[in-house]
Amino acid sequence: MAAAVRAAECGVHVGIVDDNPTLGGQIWRGGPEDGRSRDAGRWSELLRTAGVTKLSGKRIFDQPDRGIVLAEGNDDVSELRYQNLILATGARERFLPFPGWTLSNVMGAGGLQAMVKCGLPIRGKRVVIAGTGPLLLAVAAYLRKNGAEIPMICEQTSWSSLAGFSLALLSQPAKIAQGLQLKRELSGVPFVANSWPLAAHGRQILESVTVSRGGKSETILCDYLACGFHLVPNIELAQLLGCHVNGGYVRVDDLQRTTVKEVFCAGEPTGIGGVDSALIEGQIAGLAAAGGTAEAQRLFGKREKARRFARTLDRTFRLRPELTKLPSADTLVCRCEDVPYSHLQQQTSWRAAKLHTRCGMGPCQGRVCGPATQFFFKWTPDSVRPPVFPARIGDLASIIGGPEPENSTVGGGLE
């Protein structure tokens, strides 16, 4: 959104494509509803007045040629031609399998929050929150505000890492304020470090969770388990477009330009840094793509600050080696194809696992099991092929040069 607004303000024609039914991505899902989302309201309004073309409910699945991407909606397909493309594809949660994780009502932390934002009743429900990362606290606060009971927040990192994190935040007043507010909102909620889920239990749906806590295990009755192990950048589209990736993140220069000249990238795909990084990098990318280089450069200082926070996040919430023992032999790792951990232990690479067990061959295209197997086995994922998101046969068949397929709209230019 930030990129679109700044680019539009430079006078270029801007379109914004997003799979979600409304704008705002994950962090601002559901629009402004409390103080923390004042930013969301402000940027939504700027977007509206800037005259940006909104293409919601569409996902880009292929690039048939440079300067063109194909986007599929639920009932249509569009060919989008652009002079510049800004990738703000965000991040998804990292899921680590453990016994019982496939039970209904075990969800990601952001996952449960998204469901509640979309109408899931949570008042009076008991929610255990586990995993790692600042998202756990944000989710806990949000759920509690909506009437959920939080018996425990289990953070896998150590107390000393967290202490280091708090110290690092001292240099950022806004973060201190955020931190203090979270503390208030979560007063009375047990927060435990060095703690992680061991198993989820229940017959048809979740009934309780056993967590490891200081070397001992403890079982907690609950209605939901909101469990996510920090974030994984969504770099698949960047890879499809040929952008170089470094250590799992899209490589960009000072102006957020990727190694593909007309493609920019901002936010989580360049490094997990949260809202602040995303807003600044988005603005830089939007300005740079629209020719406002000087203005973009004026934001470099703020970005450096935001990036420091990103590096701190990275260090603090690194996954501890004990977590490689989370799955048992029959714990399913690939949920699309129901491939158990024991089948994967015998494989020597991601490719071998795909070929011989079908792990990663389902519709999620490895988005869920990939990061888990990368953590467990150090497998590196292979190259990306179209469609970078599942797309209908009819839409895959519709490319430039062919006869006009039905239901296609040729989109306007994208900056």
Partner: protein
């Protein structure tokens, strides 16, 4: 204040506030979304359209990611058995 939307889930009619996703409607109706290849009942995991666990059939169209679709009046949602 908030409009209500009426949809059916596996034949049962329910009313939800406007802005509710189909995934939430299915959960409110006490149903799981799909059956996995080894027979497990599954519901939404990621809440953001990338895990494909929330797939249901909407108005006869299979494999719809229900967490990304807002309920609309008269929608007929079926989950696989």
């Amino acid at each position: 204040m908030l409009d209500q939307v009426r949809v059916t889930v596996n034949g049962a009619s329910i009313s939800v506030p406007s802005g509710t996703t189909v995934a939430v409607a299915v959960t409110i109706a006490g149903q799981a979304c799909r059956t996995s290849v080894s027979g497990e009942r599954r519901g939404p995991l990621c809440g953001m359209g990338i895990c494909f666990e929330c797939r249901v059939a909407i108005d006869g169209r299979p494999h719809c990611r229900s967490c990304q679709i807002l309920c609309e009046p008269g929608m007929e949602v079926t989950t696989d058995e």
